[in-house]
């Protein structure tokens, strides 16, 4: 089994989850309370990665990260290395691909929180920050956990976007799913262990989400 690839996937999933969650919390909180016709448009854009074929998303990201694009040029100017076909590029792509997995569970949790709870916290004398930290956050924690688990698991198994944006560079962009594909293509390859590991991980993730959902109910 290609432990290097598995480890790289773990790193990618961890980085994506840690970076995406705070941003998703902010976005979800804003969206949950936003009263505007534009909200539907923004929500549709944020949900797009969920339904788009990963290769389509990957293609646009590749174009966006390339030397021909301002983002790609700016990154290369700042860090001296291209964004495409790098681990940083993978993280960026994975952040974008996971937006719906992170934002939606949190947004649902916030929307399920009665406004009176926050009102009661303010009337009780809690500052906005204290009300958020001590009342709102613990109550949306199951939503946050669901978002974290989904993002992590989804990143562990992501194939199309990674292949388009990262290619297949061992130690840099060769993730578990890519390695698995390689093993399966090679005569005499041994994809079984890797496949089983990813299967087990996904199952545990879904089980966690289910348990969290039950605790919330």
């Amino acid at each position: 089994m290609d432990w290097g690839a598995f480890l790289l996937s773990l790193q990618l999933a961890l980085a994506t989850t840690v970076l995406l969650l705070p941003a998703a919390l902010l976005a979800a909180r804003g969206l949950a309370r936003w009263r505007s016709p534009m909200r539907a448009v923004v929500e549709a854009m944020l949900t797009l990665p969920l339904v788009l074929p990963p290769t389509v998303l990957g293609y646009y990201l590749l174009v966006g990260f390339g030397r021909a694009s301002p983002i790609g040029r700016a990154f290369e100017a700042a860090f001296g290395a291209p964004l495409a076909f790098s681990f940083e590029g993978l993280i960026t792509a994975s952040l974008i691909a996971n937006i719906p997995f992170a934002v939606q569970p949190i947004q649902r949790a916030i929307e399920a929180l009665p406004r009176e709870i926050t009102d009661a916290a303010w009337v009780s004398g809690l500052t906005r920050w204290a009300a958020f930290w001590r009342i709102e956050l613990p109550l949306v924690a199951p939503g946050l956990m669901t978002a974290a688990v989904l993002t992590f698991a989804h990143t562990m198994g992501e194939f199309g976007v990674v292949l388009m944006v990262g290619g297949n560079i061992p130690g840099e962009t060769r993730t578990a799913a890519i390695a698995l594909y390689d093993e399966a293509q090679l005569p005499g390859g041994a994809p079984g262990t890797l496949a089983a590991a990813l299967l087990a991980l996904s199952f545990v993730a879904i089980l966690l989400v289910q348990l969290l959902a039950r605790r919330r109910a």
Partner: protein
């Protein structure tokens, strides 16, 4: 301790034109049908909703003043608010719920104080329970304890008894009546239950489409409505129209012409002879002339009519009497045994007396009168 003075004006999103004065230690019942803006008024006082115009003052402190650009956040207003569904923090124990509102005390003093508050609302021993592990009545008590925890300058109660069963409601109402005796701050109780308001409030404010249409003592608002609209809002059942014949200053009476009958009523000198007015009488003040043995008092505003309908409600029978020339029936409440012993039933002709001291005269508002009848029917 000092009083609360509220003036609210806005047209959006809910129209408001409300004026309330509540003295320290006084409990004002804010009454009105669903959707009349009662909760919004409370939210304005607590700082959770910002009205377009007006003022909220507590004692000498301005909490809100649209003209002066003052709008204190809820954290700075010192309001105790019991929400309609209590809005307890579900992840915290009863003790922690109360302690959350004790931020003004040093950390080590909060738990003992929260315990004492829970004991005051008869919840000793349940400090560790979460809201989901408490009954509706117990949750309400936690909400009251939390509202009192800040040592608020104003206590606001938003339909605090609407989410519990009848037996618990009676118990909680008695507890509130006891609790308030120890409080010397202005209190507002929002309710759509007139009986509850009559039982607990010192004064009532009637709210209709965000507008305070009558404010006064509970007795005054319930029995002497300012106009037919107010009468409908307090579910007054006998609202009729008549014409002023004149005033009898010596006997302190005003004489009315009701479809050709002369009625004597409590003197209302503000209405000129000849003017069209509305009048009302509580169904309990319509006295039956006993058919078997006529008794005293039958000379007072005697009226005869035919029973058109009869409805037994608990221990009382509500008798609808058709009066010649009058479109709406006159309603009389009598104990069941009286109805039975006098052989009252639809079709029977009876005589009644309308007690002069109970006849209250109001300005006639032809249009609102008609509209409000249907509104009263809808809300009852």
């Amino acid at each position: 301790m000092s009083g609360l003075s509220v003036r609210l004006a806005q047209s959006e999103p809910i129209a408001l034109d409300a004026e309330l004065e509540v003295a320290a230690g006084e409990l004002l019942g804010l009454v009105g049908p669903s959707g009349s803006g009662k909760t919004t008024v409370l939210r304005c006082i607590a700082g959770l909703h910002r009205p377009a115009g007006g003022q909220v003052r507590c004692g000498n402190a301005a909490w809100f003043d649209a003209a002066a650009g003052i709008d204190l956040p809820p954290q700075a207003r010192s309001v105790g608010l019991v929400f309609q569904n209590y809005a307890l923090f579900p992840h915290l124990s009863a003790l922690e719920n109360v302690a959350t509102a004790l931020g003004h005390l040093p950390r080590e003093a909060r738990a003992p104080r929260a315990s004492a508050l829970l004991e005051r609302v008869h919840l000793a021993g349940l400090e560790g329970r979460r809201p989901a592990e408490l009954s509706g009545g117990q949750q309400q008590r936690v909400a009251v304890a939390r509202a009192l925890a800040r040592e608020p300058k104003v206590l606001l109660l938003d339909e605090p008894f609407s989410a519990v069963d009848q037996v618990t409601r009676r118990k909680l109402q008695r507890e509130l009546a006891e609790l308030r005796r120890g409080l010397s701050i202005p209190m507002i109780l929002v309710t759509h239950d007139l009986e509850e308001a009559a039982m607990l409030a010192d004064r009532l404010a009637l709210l209709h489409h965000g507008r305070t249409v009558q404010t006064g003592t509970t007795e005054e608002v319930l029995t002497r409505p300012k106009n037919p609209l107010c009468a409908a809002l307090v579910a007054a059942r006998n609202i009729f129209e008549a014409r002023i014949l004149g005033h009898d200053a010596e006997r302190q009476l005003t004489l009315l012409d009701w479809h050709g009958r002369q009625l004597e009523a409590v003197q209302a000198p503000q209405f000129a002879p000849g003017s069209e007015v509305a009048w009302t009488i509580p169904p309990s003040e319509v006295l039956l002339h006993r058919r078997v043995a006529p008794s005293r008092g039958i000379a007072e505003n005697p009226v005869t009519g035919v029973i058109v309908d009869q409805l037994r409600l608990g221990s009382l029978t509500s008798v609808s009497i058709g009066i010649e020339g009058e479109e709406h029936p006159l309603i009389m409440d009598v104990p069941n045994h009286v109805a039975w012993r006098n052989g009252l039933e639809p079709g029977v002709e009876i005589g009644v007396s309308l007690l002069a001291k109970a006849i209250h005269i109001m300005p006639a508002e032809q249009t609102t009168l008609v509209g409000q009848r249907s509104q009263a029917d809808r809300t009852s």
